[in-house]
Structure formats: C-alpha cells, structure tokens
C-alpha cells in the first residue's frame, strides 16, 4: 500500500512515531529480472510490490493480495541454481538477481457434473477424471505448490479411494494451477480436489441436523411474533433488550443453556 499512502500525501490514519524513531534509512535497491528484463527495486518488497514499484500495473496476476485467491502464481529461478522455485507474488519476498515470470492462468480440463447424481463412491471421481491413474508419482506437483500442499499424496489418496484424507490434505488449495502446469500425467489436480471436496461436503460428511431443525422452526412461524415485536420496538426498548441479553461464556461447552428460554425453540 506504499503507493497509495504517497498518493494521499502521508498516512494520517496510521500511527507513526516520528519523534522516537529516526527517519527510515534510504532503502537499498537490488536487481530482479521480470521476464528477463532487469529492474532495480527496494529490497524487502514482495514480488508484487516490486513489480508495481518497477512500473507494472496489474490487470491479471493480482487478486486478493493476501495469499488466498490464486491469481498471482509465480515461477522463478536463481542464478547458478538448477532448481525451479515458485511462490505467490503477493507473499514472496524478492531476492537479488532472481528471474521470474507470473503464471496467472494455466489451461486445465474440467469435467462437468451434476452433484445430485453423484454418489460418495470413489469411482465417481475416477470416472470423471481417469487421468488420475496416469500419475507416475514424480512429485513435481508437490514441489511446485506455493501452499505447500502434499499434492502427490492427495492424488494417491484419491487413487486409493480415501476421499476424506484427500480433502484434509488439499483443504488450503487456492487453485492457482501451478501443479497442473508441471504434471507429467497432464491432470488438473485442483479441479479434481475441488470435486473431492464437494462430494465430501455434500455426501460423506454427516449433514447438520440442528441446522435443519432451526430452519424448520423458523418456517413454522414460531419466532414470527417476537421478531415482529422487535421490528416495531423503539430504540429505547431495543437498547434495553440488548443490554439485558445473556451472553454465552467463552469457555463453555456447546450444551450451555441460557436462563431465559422464552425465545428458543425448546420453550
């Protein structure tokens, strides 16, 4: 946000300690290579902020800027090092002489399905994505994952039919597509994991009974009168009711019950 702060001429909202800390020392500039082209940028910045500092204005390759949306997958290398490195541009701090490219999109086949017609059987996934079994266990997907997900192990669990375990391992997936870009078996791991999570959420994990009960109690009209009363109450009355409401203590079990049960389904 450095740019915006400058644009506004300082940052009045954010507390600063002008007297106690010396003015920030002039930042050291280091070279990075964006798609092969050299730019001098301040050390300590993320790849995203460094590219903006260099003058790039993103349309693609920038999303949440908080490491959860998968828009800014980036591949880079370091001089004299054979390894491929990856990271999210918004999360990865630059290193001198790194050379990088963003990979904001990678084509991947996605199988269409009707969730209602699927069962919780692992074969459903295999039918939609037979390429699962082309996996040669090279582990390139795991190495490339910027979220440190055990991608290959997740694939293995799906091949074994263990959807729950695959869901657990892949839960942080941000669907950036870097795994698909490196896959020897040419599979779209992130779409497959998404399918696994949806089957798990809808068909394997037990449905919440109290949620259905709550919904049905509302439908029955039980709260209609008390709610209508609240809606027509004046502010003074509302403030009183608000102050009087009993607060569930933080450190209690789920079976805690308030003293007043008048406006609950159990009354």
């Amino acid at each position: 946000m450095a740019g915006a702060e400058k644009r506004k001429g300082g940052n009045p909202g954010v507390a600063t300690l002008e007297k106690e800390t010396p003015p920030r020392v002039k930042v050291k500039l280091i070279p990075i290579f964006v798609m092969g082209k050299r730019y001098m940028v301040p050390e300590g910045l993320t790849i995203m902020k460094a590219m903006e500092y260099a003058g790039y204005k993103f349309i693609r390759g920038c999303g949440c800027r908080g490491g959860v949306c998968g828009a800014c997958g980036t591949v880079y290398r370091k001089p004299g090092d054979y390894k491929i490195y990856t990271g999210l541009a918004c999360q990865t701090v630059i290193e001198p002489d790194m050379y990088l490219t963003q990979m904001p999109f990678y084509p991947a086949n996605r199988a269409s399905f009707n969730l209602e017609n699927l069962t919780s059987a692992p074969e459903e996934i295999n039918k939609l994505y037979p390429e699962l079994f082309r996996c040669v266990a090279c582990n390139a997907c795991t190495k490339v994952c910027p979220m440190n997900i055990e991608v290959m192990d997740t694939v293995s669990y799906l091949k074994q039919g263990n959807i729950a375990k695959a869901v657990e391992l892949s839960f942080d997936c941000i669907q950036c597509g870097l795994c698909a870009s490196r896959c020897f078996a040419e599979m779209p791991q992130y779409h497959i994991f998404q399918l696994a999570r949806r089957i798990y959420g809808a068909k394997i994990s037990p449905r919440s009974k109290h949620l259905i009960e709550a919904d049905e109690t509302i439908e029955s009209g039980k709260y209609e009168e008390p709610l209508r009363k609240l809606m027509s109450a004046d502010e003074k009355e509302l403030r009183k009711l608000y102050q009087e409401r009993e607060t569930e203590p933080l450190e209690t079990g789920d079976d805690w019950q308030p003293k007043k049960t008048e406006y609950l389904s159990i009354s």
Binding site: R24, G63, V68, R198, G201, L227, E235, L238, T247, E248
Partner: protein, 556 residues
C-alpha cells in the same frame, strides 16, 4: 526474517504477563465489557467521527449528504465513456439476467436466477471469484442451535452492532433465512467444520451473545467461494461468465427501467453493450479507495464501482458515512501489512495487549468500538508497540490459544495464517502478532428492500454494494451471510422480473448526460472519471516518466 531484536523486549513483556492471563481465562474471568457510555467514548477515536474526513455531496439523489472525500470524489466524476458516441443499437450480448460482479453475491444470484429458468451473463472485473468473499476468514453467522439461540437473539445482536439504525425488514430477512442459506451451501458441498455427528462447530464473534459463527477452518469464504464458483461452471450452458470486463455504466430504457450495461474489456480496451431483461448489481466494496489513507484488507478490485453506477441511475445511498475498520490487521512485518487476522483469534482466547503486555479492552467489542479502543491506546495514551517500520501496533497474543486449548490448536484452526507468518519466520503459536485497524468493509451502500429491489425497476442489488442491513456497523460473520443470502434473493427476484414484469423499450444513456449536466450546474469541473476499476500504486517517479502525449491504438 523473524521478529527483529528491537521487538524482543516487548515480546518479553507479553510473555511475562501471559501465565497469569491464561490462568484468569481458565477461571472464566473476562475483562469487563464496556458500558454503553464507554463504547461511545471509544467511538470518538474512530475515523468515522473525524469531521475533516468528509464533505457534502453536491449532486444526485443524496445531495447534501456528508460522506468520506474518497466516495465523494467518485460520485463527483465523469463517466468513462462519452454517451453521445456509444451506439446502443449495436448490441453485443443479449440475456435474461445480467449479473455484475463475480463474488459471493453475484455468484449466488447467477445460480438462483438460472434455477428459475433464466439465461444468465455474469460479468466480472477480474477473475470469477476474485472478491472479498474469497478473503473472508472468520465465518458465517446463523442461529442454528435451537437449545440456546434463535433469530430473536441474532436480530438483537445485529441491531446492537449497527447502532440500532439498521433497516428492520432487512435484518428480519437476514436472521430468518440464515439457517436456510447454510443448508443450501452444505448441499452444494461446502465442508463446514463439524463433529462426527454433523453438529456444526460454532464460536463467538465481536458483538454476539451466542456462539453462532460457523466456519470452514480459517478459510470459510474461500471454501464457499470456490464451491459456488465450481457450481456455476457446471451450469455453463445457461450461465456465461465474462471475466476482466467490469461494467462502467448501467443502461436504462425509455421507460426508465434498467435494461443492461456497458462492459469494458480491460485487456482489449473495447466497450460492449449488454441488453438484459433484468440486472443484478453485486460489485462489492471499497477498501481500495484507502479512505483517510488507511491500509486495507480488501481485494485489489474493491473500488466501489457499483455505488457510482447505481447513483448515476438515481438509486440513493445510505450509511456511506460509516466505513468499517477491522481492528486486527497485520501492521508488521511490512510484507503482510493490511493482512486480515480474523476475529476468531480473539474468539478462541487470544488477548489484545498494549506495549506493557497489559489488557486494556474486552477483546470482543463490536469492531468499531474495538478499533476506536486500539487507536486510543496508541495515539492518546501512548501505549502502542513501536514497530521497526515506524508505526504503532497492538499485540494479539495467539500463543494463549495453544495454552488454553492444547498444543497444535493454532496450527490446526488457523492453518492459513500460520503459514503466512511462518513464511516470514514467525511462529504464531509461540509468538504474538502485531496489529492495527485497517479499512475492511463498506457498511453502507445503495438503498434496497428485502426483495433486493431498488428504486429503479429492473435493477436489483446484493452484498457489500448495498446498505441498510448492517446499519452503521457490521458484525463479524454477517457479511458472508449477507452476500449469499441476498445474492440468492436478488437472483430469484431478477429472474421473476425478467419473466413477468419486463417491458421492451429503446435503450438509452440519457441519464449519463443528465448526470454530466448536473455536475456542470453544480460548478464541478474535474477530469476525474469513475468508476475507478483498479487502484493505482504507480510510484510518482515512474509516473513522471509516463509522458505519452496522446493515446493511439491500444497502447496505454
């Protein structure tokens, strides 16, 4: 890099006071919550209350209404297009329902409109799913546990948080449809955190009297967003998604009804006309306006586009004078500045502490009160923690969570955040986090009713672009609820309107011309254009070298 030397002495103070604080928590002793008068006092330190931060609007439906300069700048700006040049008879797309915005609200609207039989176009500025919904961490409220909670208490909490100014009809809809929305999401395969019998996990959020926040680990929004986006992809025969194409104007017809929009392909710089029988505006919030210079937790595209579009066709705004500052945004290390640290940390038992390692406020006040308390502690009382980057912060003592709930809880329940800090060399299950309030949510927005209708027939809205349901301050866990709940209603309403009430008529941009004239008449001469579409983080030195005299072709 781990916390530098300079901060270590302050971390020591936190560690010194920690054992006793943990003991107090174990005994169930809470720091006293503020009285109504105490809350009022804290609010005086909240940025909303700074007179110099806002000005009166000179044009439009709410002329005279005082709102932050950053909003006023956008509303007192010209269109990106010249309405005389646009050829409205050359229609590029035609559809039943046009949904503008690809976040939670827009996506839910597209799904529901399709279910009602509509052909849908979903146009979005960035990628489908690039939205604040994706970033929402904490959870989603619903009074689902009938033995201790009901919509009655949810209603009271929403009103108390919103300073009793919320629209009763909208709040009624929010609290009574909440369990139904969770059922819908569960059916689509959203993996909520639950026990082996299917009982949903739930916890407190700021301002809740019952543990009503349901969640999916600490990536609730992301799990919901990727699931409903996936479902839209299953229905691609009826829902066409057009990415990187924000709407820059709404199109009306001769009856004054909304009948489409002008889209701008940001990659090719072309404008396209969409003719639609009904339009859902779900463009989200405003964090990237950096109101009063604050950093933001928001998505790159959160530039309040929908407010501009809606206001230009005559829809009023409300509660835009209040903006929500999330009390706990990372302020150090600099790489993650503005990063949202969910309220769940405090709900799970982490104390908030000043430079002496002392508690100074109940950690679950409503967000505006909590933010005011942080700012007061730093600026008025001089008890902020000085950061190596020259700022002040407040500690969130995350290691307490492991002490209270068992080793490994932080890593399990806050896996996403643990990883982000770990990349910076900080283990938040062992070391506390430094925070300061950051721009988080647009409390207000365009005026609408419980059917998501606006004053313009054919125009429906949902989500953060709207105003009224949260009053002057939204509670945690009510925005994920809001976007999906009202998104569904907007989709259904728009589809019904398209089938039953739509009237064919000649398309027009006369309202844009009239708005330009109103600007002229108000004496506003400006080269500002709106909507903003994307924030500009170009360095001034770079800008000085951008000397293109006139633009040719697609070369910017």
């Amino acid at each position: 890099m781990p916390y530098p030397e300079g901060l270590q002495k302050y971390i020591k103070k936190v560690e010194e006071t920690r054992p006793e604080r943990v003991e107090r928590r174990r005994r169930g002793e809470e720091f006293p919550a503020l009285s109504p008068e105490g809350r009022e006092e804290m609010l005086q330190y909240h940025p909303d209350y700074k007179e110099e931060g806002r000005r009166e609007l000179k044009v439009g439906t709410n002329k005279g209404y005082k709102i932050p300069h950053e909003f006023a700048d956008l509303l007192e700006a010209k269109s990106r297009i010249d309405p005389d040049v646009v050829n409205l008879s050359a229609i590029d797309y035609e559809t039943d329902v046009l949904v503008i915005g690809g976040g939670g609200a827009g996506t839910a609207a597209a799904l529901l409109a399709q279910e009602q039989g509509a052909k849908v176009i979903l146009a979005t500025k960035l990628r489908h799913g690039d939205a604040n919904t994706m970033m929402a961490e904490g959870g989603i409220q619903a009074a689902s546990k009938g033995w201790k909670d009901s919509p009655y208490y949810h209603y009271l909490d929403v009103l108390g948080g919103g300073h009793f100014q919320n629209s009763p009809e909208l709040v009624y809809t929010l609290v009574t449809q909440a369990p139904g929305v969770l059922r819908w999401l569960e059916g689509l395969g959203v993996a909520f955190s639950k026990d082996k019998n299917g009982k949903l996990e739930s916890m407190h959020g700021g301002g809740t009297c019952r543990k009503r926040m349901h969640y999916c680990s600490d990536i609730t929004g992301s799990e919901i967003m990727r699931t409903i986006r996936d479902e839209v992809r299953n229905r691609s025969q009826d829902i066409e998604v057009i990415e990187f194409s924000p709407a820059v104007e709404l199109v009306l017809n001769e009856h004054g009804h909304c009948a489409g929009a002008v889209l701008y392909n940001m990659e090719t710089e072309e404008y396209f006309i969409v003719k639609a029988r009904a339009v859902v505006l779900a463009t989200g919030g405003c964090g990237r306006l950096h109101v009063q210079g604050f950093p933001t937790t928001n998505h790159y595209g959160a530039t309040a586009d929908g407010i501009v579009l809606g206001y230009r066709v005559g829809v009023g705004v409300c509660f835009l004078h209040t903006v929500q500052y999330h009390p706990t945004c990372a302020i150090f290390p600099e790489q993650i500045e503005g990063l949202l640290l969910t309220e769940k940390f405090r709900g799970a038992g982490a104390d908030v502490l000043n430079v002496d390692g002392e508690k100074f406020v109940f950690e679950r006040e409503p967000r505006d009160v909590e933010s005011g308390a942080f700012i007061k502690e730093c600026l008025a009382k001089g008890k902020g923690v000085p950061t190596p980057t020259g700022k002040l912060g407040i500690w969130v003592d995350s290691p307490m969570i492991d002490l209270l709930s068992g080793e490994g809880t932080v890593r399990r329940e806050f896996m996403g955040k643990w990883k982000v800090f770990n990349r910076q060399g900080i283990d938040i299950s062992k070391e506390p986090m430094l925070v300061y309030p950051g721009l988080h949510y647009q409390n207000g927005g365009l005026v609408y009713n419980a059917n998501c209708e606006t004053s313009v027939p054919g125009l429906f809205i949902a989500g953060e672009v709207s105003g009224g349901v949260h009053g002057a301050n939204r509670l945690m866990g009510n925005s994920l609820l809001d976007v999906h709940l009202f998104g569904r209603i907007a989709g259904r309403s728009a589809s019904l309107y398209a089938q039953e009430s739509y009237q064919e008529g000649k398309l027009t941009l006369e309202h844009v011309k009239a708005y330009h004239k109103e600007l002229d008449d108000a004496g506003i001469t400006t080269d500002r254009v709106a909507p903003m579409l994307l924030p500009d983080y170009t360095e001034p030195a770079v800008r000085e070298r951008q000397l293109t005299a006139s633009y040719l072709g697609t070369l910017r």
